[in-house]
């Protein structure tokens, strides 16, 4: 829907709200105070632990206040509110457009840089990149996989990025390869993006050890474990991580951010966000400053069309509906999808007719119907035994169920209860 138009730059808003927790792990600690003047790229909150990340200002101006405000989940959390005044960047940031292909940074410097520049996984999970680059002792990365599969339908931000920043992504791949000390990298792209495959293959031929792999179009091909299985045919064990099979997976958006961080000294304070939906006047991809509000984005795409039933933060499969558009874009915002009213309704739940469609679509090989009925019956031990924790919540089962059963909702319920049991067991 928005894949044809090139990435537009959203004008700098008059005010930004930057949350301090935009990543998985410990929230960052605020290091600015009210009335401080900040520049674009300046650190406003410092990493609060190993699994944490720095947060930078995306604008220049005056810190108005630090307050708890609702984020996409609807819960309040700490945000730094900055009133914008001009657009003054830190001098250390290289703002020229020239491609820097030579990688002068050492392995350690690259890892340090990703932490310093606040790089996190931009596919949606927002896992701090420096953690992924620090391979635990006793394990060895053999292969790097770059995820060019749009993680969800409707979203096109990765697609556009590959077309417009192909060179940078390839250099970014080289940087990640150097950081992980691997000699082989694959870029997986779904075959419904032939232009991106062709474009990147052309550039990849100039680099050693990088190969573009066209992949079958299916959801959820963009899941880490699915991607690893499809590209190098290794299966991550239940409860394990990609590194257990010698792989590290990074998203193309992250790879581009790594390029900018290492080569241009540019912190992660803006990202590409898809705005789309059936009735959206101007569906497009925007380069947005972190902290700009969803309202700003929607205004740029022609406003909220009549008859919109709900607005989703993220993709249509795994995203969450938001209650207000007055929430900030964060590092994890991959898209804003508007769903028309008639599609936003929950269908009436009917009896399971045992057709088994949920089983045939489950990418993790689980039995969703069983997990749902076990959850309904509160048989949490059995939910655990049937490996509910392997579920990655892709939503394929709920999507396909002809009886409109909310399979995923119940599996989530089951997972949260299993998690409680696991925690109490470990105590």
């Amino acid at each position: 829907m928005a894949s044809k138009a090139s990435i537009k730059i959203l004008p700098v808003p008059s005010m930004v709200k930057i949350p301090v927790a935009q990543h998985i792990g410990t929230p960052a600690e605020v290091v600015v105070a009210r009335n401080d003047q900040v520049k674009v790229g300046q650190v406003i909150a410092k990493s609060g632990g190993f699994i944490s990340s720095n947060i930078h200002s995306s604008v220049s101006g005056k810190v108005q206040k630090i307050d708890k405000l609702p984020d996409a989940s609807g819960y309040r959390q700490s945000m730094v509110i900055i009133e914008v005044d001009g657009d003054e960047w830190l001098e250390s940031i290289d703002r020229s457009d020239t491609l820097v292909t030579e990688i002068s940074a050492t392995r350690e410097e690259i890892v340090a840089k990703t932490l310093e520049m606040g790089i996190v996984g931009l596919g949606g999970a927002t896992f701090p990149t420096h953690v992924k680059l620090s391979v635990p002792k006793g394990k060895k990365a053999e292969v790097l996989i770059i995820n060019g599969v749009e993680c969800e339908p409707y979203l096109t931000s990765d697609h556009r990025l590959m077309l417009e920043k192909g060179e940078e992504i390839l250099v970014g791949t080289q940087i990640l390869m150097k950081a992980l000390d691997v000699s082989k990298a694959y870029i997986g792209i779904e075959s419904n993006k032939p232009d991106a495959i062709q474009h990147l293959s052309g550039i990849a031929s100039k680099y050693d050890g990088i190969e573009v792999v066209p992949l079958k179009v299916m959801y959820p091909q963009g899941g880490e474990k699915q991607l690893i299985k499809a590209i190098i045919d290794r299966e991550v064990p239940s409860g394990g991580l990609p590194i257990d099979v010698g792989t590290v997976v990074h998203n193309v958006g992250t790879t581009f951010a790594v390029y900018e961080a290492v080569q241009n000294n540019k912190p992660l304070f803006e990202r590409v966000v898809t705005v789309t939906g059936k009735d959206v006047k101007d569906p497009a991809n925007y380069m947005v400053r972190i902290g700009a509000s969803v309202t700003d984005l929607l205004d740029a795409s022609g406003g909220i069309p009549d008859g919109t039933g709900k607005i989703i933060n993220g993709g249509p499969m795994m995203g969450k509906a938001i209650g207000s558009t007055d929430i900030p874009v964060t590092k994890g915002t991959s898209g804003i999808v508007l769903i028309p009213e008639d599609k936003a309704k929950r269908n009436k739940i009917q009896n399971c007719i045992r057709c088994g469609k949920c089983i045939s679509v489950c990418p993790m090989g689980l039995e969703p119907y069983l997990l749902m009925s076990l959850s309904e019956l509160s048989r949490w031990e059995d939910v655990e035994l049937n490996k509910a924790m392997d579920c990655m919540e892709c939503g394929s089962c709920s999507f396909t169920c002809p009886a409109s059963r909310p399979l995923l909702d119940y599996i989530r319920l089951g997972k949260s209860n299993v998690l409680k049991i696991i925690r109490s067991r470990n105590k």
């Binding site: 239940s238 249509p316 007719i353 045992r354 009886a403 909310p406």
Partner: protein, 388 residues
């Protein structure tokens, strides 16, 4: 049509049907019609936010569409066989044959739907449940697997039994253990055996002995084979096209194949069950061919596929999702065992020459057990992966 006249009307009369309202006791019936007309308006907050366009109603409607070729061929054949029995020369593909078939089959369909849906509505009303559209498919299947001359009241009694005892007491659509259509047939078979067996029942008008020409037996190919008259079997082409005596929907393998194609293409019928049942049937047929101690065992193994109800029941009954296995591996096992059992019962059992009905009902009972072992095996496989 947002907030159209109909919606306003429905909203206006809604309170009448609420608890304590004047017609409160009809709440289930009211809701049944309301959801048939409108999509409910609760908004989901978490993923997935989009849904496949296929739902239960469409699934069932597609199965009924897949059945239409068999209905058409069945009606034509009903007329053709009737006129043949009377010594009249009426072509298979003729309006006359179709018209006769239509006036004989249509009442069966009407009775089937009225009685079946009526029973479901009544039960839902009594239990205060919602109404499911589960009978849409069964209602079309039943007329296709009973003799065309079956008295309508018998059909009605059998359907009430199958829906009440076979389905509703287990919890309604999706909860039944046995395939409802086959249960109807089984009930008729054991309750009214005279109307359900013998050579005369399969041809319209013959049971009552209306002007049947001398020497016309009306025996189905299976009955001929069971009696050892392999020489008087119709040609394979006739059996494939469906120019043979038999129950309405089962005769034309061609029409059934078209239905199978629709089911597989739309992903509604499991091709795994269809394929494994066919393979199972063929293997059993081959095995019997090897022994061949009586003429029935000598019937070429592949001919079993186009005789009797094998094709029809494999395509439309074995694939009934509610009573079949759910797991993918389970589907292979389930279908294969149905194929084996069907041919075994068909050929070895001396009482009557068809085994499909019993094979499927029998495997219906075992489907949950197969699923259980598949799921257990799956758990073990995953545990192994963790420790590896």
């Amino acid at each position: 049509m947002k907030n159209g006249k109909l919606r306003q009307f429905v909203d206006k009369i809604k309170p009448t049907f609420d608890k304590g309202g004047k017609l409160g006791f009809l709440k289930s019936t009211f809701e049944g019609f309301e959801t048939f007309l409108f999509v409910p308006n609760t908004v989901s907050l978490k993923g997935s936010h989009i849904r496949d366009s296929i739902n239960l109603k469409r699934t069932m409607a597609l199965v009924v569409i897949a059945l239409l070729p068999a209905v058409l061929m069945g009606m034509l054949n009903t007329g053709y066989q009737h006129f043949l029995s009377q010594g009249q020369d009426v072509a298979f593909w003729s309006g006359q044959a179709l018209w006769y078939g239509f006036i004989r089959v249509f009442p069966l369909i009407v009775v089937s739907y009225i009685v079946g849906l009526g029973t479901e509505f009544a039960v839902a009303q009594v239990k205060g449940h919602e109404i499911n559209e589960g009978f849409l498919v069964s209602g079309m299947l039943i007329p296709l697997i009973v003799p065309v001359d079956i008295p309508l009241w018998m059909l009605a009694v059998a359907i009430v039994f199958a829906v009440m005892i076979g389905k509703e007491i287990f919890g309604g659509t999706g909860m039944n253990i046995f395939n409802v259509a086959l249960l109807t047939r089984a009930f008729l078979f054991f309750a009214y055996p005279i109307f359900m067996s013998g050579d005369k029942i399969w041809i319209g008008g013959m049971f009552k002995g209306e002007n049947v020409v001398d020497g016309f037996s009306g025996a189905t190919p299976l009955a001929e084979a069971a009696a050892g008259n392999l020489d008087s079997l119709p040609s394979s082409m006739d059996m494939f096209m469906g120019y043979i005596p038999g129950s309405v929907g089962e005769t034309s393998t061609l029409a059934i194949l078209i239905g199978a194609f629709i089911l597989i293409y739309t992903g509604i019928g499991s091709w795994k069950i269809m394929l494994s049942a066919t393979v199972g049937g063929l293997l059993m047929g081959l095995l019997l061919n090897v022994f061949a101690v009586n003429p029935f065992m000598e019937v070429p193994f592949w001919q079993h596929m186009i005789m009797g109800g094998f094709a029809f029941e494999v395509v439309f009954m074995a694939t009934d999702p509610v009573t079949a296995t759910q797991t993918e591996t389970g589907k292979w096992i389930y279908g294969f065992l149905i194929g084996i059992l069907a041919i075994l019962v068909r050929v070895i059992n001396p009482a009557y020459p068809e085994g499909m009905m019993l094979a499927i009902l029998f495997m219906n009972v075992f489907a949950p057990l197969i699923d259980y072992y598949v799921v257990q095996a799956n758990i073990r496989k995953r545990l192994k992966r963790v420790t590896a």
